[in-house]
């Protein structure tokens, strides 16, 4: 009996637990990446312990890969040593952790996942309880196979209706974050429910779970269903524990009617400032970026390619597939060719310029319109640069017109 978060944690513990309880829970998957693994390795050395379950450990190179600086290369050398010393079974270099873990079948519904990256919550799209922690907590999870946490209370987001033309999951999550606020779900799980939630693709679910952390959330979760199982089929993932909420007591329920949504933009430097793109259309833009764990998937490339095919971008534009699998599929579908011909710089899979370290760093006073999840001032480069968050359709329309544009203007 309980919310999906309570059900998953109860199943994992073999006893019923409810929100507010402190639990030490076995962890199914432990992840760290090229920026956080060096600190994990230090903590493991400090503890003098070996990884408890090397087959469930995953180190991903995604933040600065291929290495852009000597310092980044050194961090990756340290991470490779750690993987070798500890016998960790999975070193992935083919895309963003939150995308490639499920692609490699390393996440199953019902899992408890701990990752040294705040956007680990993305994996809740697969019916897992996935949360981000720091390197020391992750080292403890590697060493002991367990983690501690307070069972979260849950904010339920009930989705009704269907998207109007040119409106996407990103517009929906920007509206949800606007309503809830950037700390409005702090320490809570965000569970997506309702008829429309069932209809969403896995990619859309990932976009919604991904930004749970932008509301302070501990997890974003969808109940696994046939769509989840079909997506994971043939990827070698472990048996699914398909769970759903049973007579849940939610802290609150926020209902969103998809039919009433418009293309949205969150303005610099706060993620909860979403407003209709139409209100700001025409705003000057220096760079467009399409990609990241929020919106770097095949459907996002399809959307961008559909708008840019046979046309030319009017502002510098960077596109980064979330993974090699996405990259290959986008190549085969012709999306990459459309983007390249339109003048887009298509970069190799990974986090791309989201961290302000490579592949599209912003100069003083520059303004980017991006499909990222976070618009903290200066995140992409100079401290005076600005980031505006939008959907792939809005990003592509903006690239085309060279100013912030509602995708319905160019469709």
């Amino acid at each position: 009996m309980g919310t999906l978060a309570e059900e998953i944690l109860s199943a994992r513990l073999g006893r019923p637990v409810v929100a507010g309880e402190t639990v030490v829970v076995p962890v199914d998957v432990v992840m760290s990446h090229d920026t956080t693994t060096a600190l994990v390795a230090e903590a493991m050395d400090d503890l003098g312990r070996k990884v408890a379950r090397p087959e469930r450990g995953v180190v991903v190179f995604d933040h600065i890969t291929p290495a852009a600086t000597v310092a980044a290369a050194q961090q990756q050398q340290r991470a490779r040593e750690f993987v070798a010393q500890q016998g960790i079974a999975n070193l992935l270099t083919d895309g963003i952790s939150h995308q490639v873990l499920p692609e490699h079948g390393l996440v199953a519904p019902g899992d408890v996942v701990v990752g040294a990256d705040s956007h680990t919550v993305t994996l809740g799209a697969f019916g897992a309880f996935a949360t981000g922690m720091g390197s020391t907590d992750v080292a403890v999870a590697y060493a002991t196979g367990e983690s501690w946490l307070r069972v979260p209370s849950t904010l339920a987001v009930r989705l009704e209706g269907s998207f109007p033309p040119a409106v996407e999951a990103k517009d929906l999550i920007l509206e949800i974050v606007r309503r809830v606020g950037s700390a409005g779900a702090r320490y809570q799980a965000v569970e997506y429910i309702g008829g429309a939630a069932r209809e969403l693709s896995i990619g859309d679910r990932m976009t919604l779970c991904n930004m749970a952390v932008e509301m302070g959330g501990k997890a974003g979760i969808f109940a696994a269903d046939d769509r989840t199982l079909r997506w994971l089929e043939g990827r070698g993932s472990r048996p699914a524990r398909v769970l759903e909420a049973r007579d849940p007591e939610y802290l609150r329920v926020e209902t969103v009617e998809l039919d009433r949504l418009e293309p949205m933009v969150a303005t610099s430097p706060r993620v909860d400032t979403g407003r209709p793109v139409s209100e700001l259309a025409g705003m000057a833009v220096d760079q467009v970026f399409i990609g990241t764990c929020t919106n770097g998937r095949l459907a996002d490339f399809a959307t961008a390619a559909a708008l840019l095919r046979g046309r030319q971008v009017a502002v510098r534009t960077v596109a980064v597939p979330a993974s090699r699998e996405v990259y290959l599929a986008a190549l085969q579908a012709g999306y990459i060719e459309s983007l390249v011909r339109a003048g887009v710089a298509v970069e190799s899979p990974g986090c791309g310029p989201c961290l302000g370290r490579h592949k599209g760093v912003l100069g003083p006073g520059e303004r980017a319109v991006t499909t990222m999840s976070r618009n903290f001032r200066g995140r992409m480069g100079d401290p005076s640069s600005e980031i505006y968050l939008v959907s792939p359709a809005t990003a592509a329309a903006t690239a085309l017109l060279g100013r912030l544009a509602d995708p319905r203007e160019v469709a």
């Binding site: 076995p26 990256d117 020391t136 950037s182 302070g216 302000g356």
Partner: protein, 178 residues
Amino acid sequence: MARAWRFGDFVNTDQIIPGRYNVTTDRSELGRACFIELRPDFTSSVRAGDLIVAGEDFGCGSSREHAVIAILATGVTAVLASSFARIFYRNAINRGLAVLECSEAAEVEDGAEVKLDLARGRVVDCTGGRELLTRPLPLFAQRIAGHGGVLELVRAHGSLNGACGPECGAPMVPRHAE
């Protein structure tokens, strides 16, 4: 006497240490980059034992533990805030940076002289002439803080489970799936 360094609401980890500066684990390098863009005078003026004071949701954003390491490397031993983002909060407790939650935190002025009594969770704002009461840590976090960090706790008890008290409910039955 310690000095209070006042920051606003929603100070994020990119502001504590921007992503361009955390590609290292070197303590002094991380310390030099602490608040490098938000408050460039901070590292040259801060003294060991000083206090950071902030509003809502301090430490929101990324999971980077470099943010806690950078603050500790400046000599700051405690952060007093109206509220904390959860990953930063855990990271701080894990590394022995005191995180003090206090609804009146925003009333402490920048540059105020403060006295810290971390053992009792008290902060005396000498300039404002008041004593601030802080919210106690959750029980399990108290256990970690009592050991000086989570690695010390694991070393002492062999595992997290071994450190569990009554607040953790029934003992965990490990059920590792195949």
